[in-house]
Symmetry: C2
Subunit: 189 residues, 2 copies
């Protein structure tokens, strides 16, 4: 069987279960049933192995985000569905959740770096969607970078931060209702 594949699976399992710092290369080798040295024939070091696993995860996330978008639906509907999907993924996906926890608790630099990278990619992804919608004449022209940033941060605040200062989480209806009435409505052409 493909050595590289086995190592990837072992690493994904270990990172998901124990996080980046608490995962040892010996551990990964043991789960993958390979000698430790073998890992280093495929990945230069622990961090590159980690990046490969995270890259695979972001591809999954993007696929799930694409899956909830409906061909022909409005920008608002698709943007909302996509962002909610990605934020759900954030809390549901074992590895993502573990990394967020590790960032908060341990401050592991490699984890901080990788999570920041993901956020930047999401914003840039939204930005592209906005530009497409402007080109199609669905949205009026605007600073797509700024609007993408604002949209993402708004969703993050409503989905993630709200619960920290309030007893119950916001429902998806509350969120879509609020943003539909405020930001989205004003973006329309």
């Amino acid at each position: 069987m493909d050595r590289r594949q086995e190592i990837m699976e072992a690493a994904a399992k270990s990172f998901s279960l124990f996080g980046y710092k608490a995962t040892t290369m010996d551990q990964v080798a043991k789960i993958a049933n390979v000698g430790k040295g073998t890992i280093y024939t495929f990945f230069a070091n622990k961090e590159e192995l980690f990046n490969a696993i995270v890259l695979k995860m972001t591809e999954e996330m993007r696929a799930e985000s694409d899956a909830v978008a409906v061909e022909g639906a409005s920008f608002e509907q698709n943007a909302h569905a996509r962002l909610m999907q990605m934020l759900k993924f954030r809390g549901t996906h074992q590895l993502y959740a573990k990394l967020i926890d590790e960032e908060k608790e341990l401050r592991t630099p490699a984890v901080i770096e990788v999570l920041g990278q993901i956020e930047r990619e999401i914003v840039s992804y939204i930005k592209a969607k906005i530009e497409r919608a402007i080109a199609k004449g669905e949205l009026k022209p605007c600073d797509s970078e700024l609007v993408a940033f604002l949209l993402f941060k708004s969703y993050l605040a409503l989905v993630v931060d709200w619960g920290k200062t309030h007893d119950e989480e916001l429902s998806e209806e509350q969120i879509s209702g609020l943003l539909s009435n405020t930001i989205f409505n004003c973006l329309l052409a």
Copy 2:
């Protein structure tokens, strides 16, 4: 001279210079030229002394925020001026800046608690302003708590977070322009 006053000033100076954790009661006593025991005749413990200093700071912040609001100006103008003022205060005021740094670096529980409290107060302050504007018919009815939260988080993201992922800070014009076209515009009655 007023002992209590001297202690407050000494504590404010020390907290501003060294933060909460690195400020010792001996230090405060020395700066205030009183015996350590004297502090405890006015304040039950270090945390209460700290809370008193922070309360004074928030009163200053509120005063500065009120000072930039113009009687008779639009909700948008005043809300923008107030929020920008408070966020400027956040970075400019020595004690506030020091506490934010301490929260990030040391995670001192008393500091986390106090900064969270301040944010909650700001949101509740904005909420009251929104309700007043609704009562006056300037804004259309909305969930004031939600909108206050969204407004505050948006400003925070644009003023504070933007710089972390981009080379240059946003100008005040960019921020007011963006939010005027999006959130504010949709709130109008």
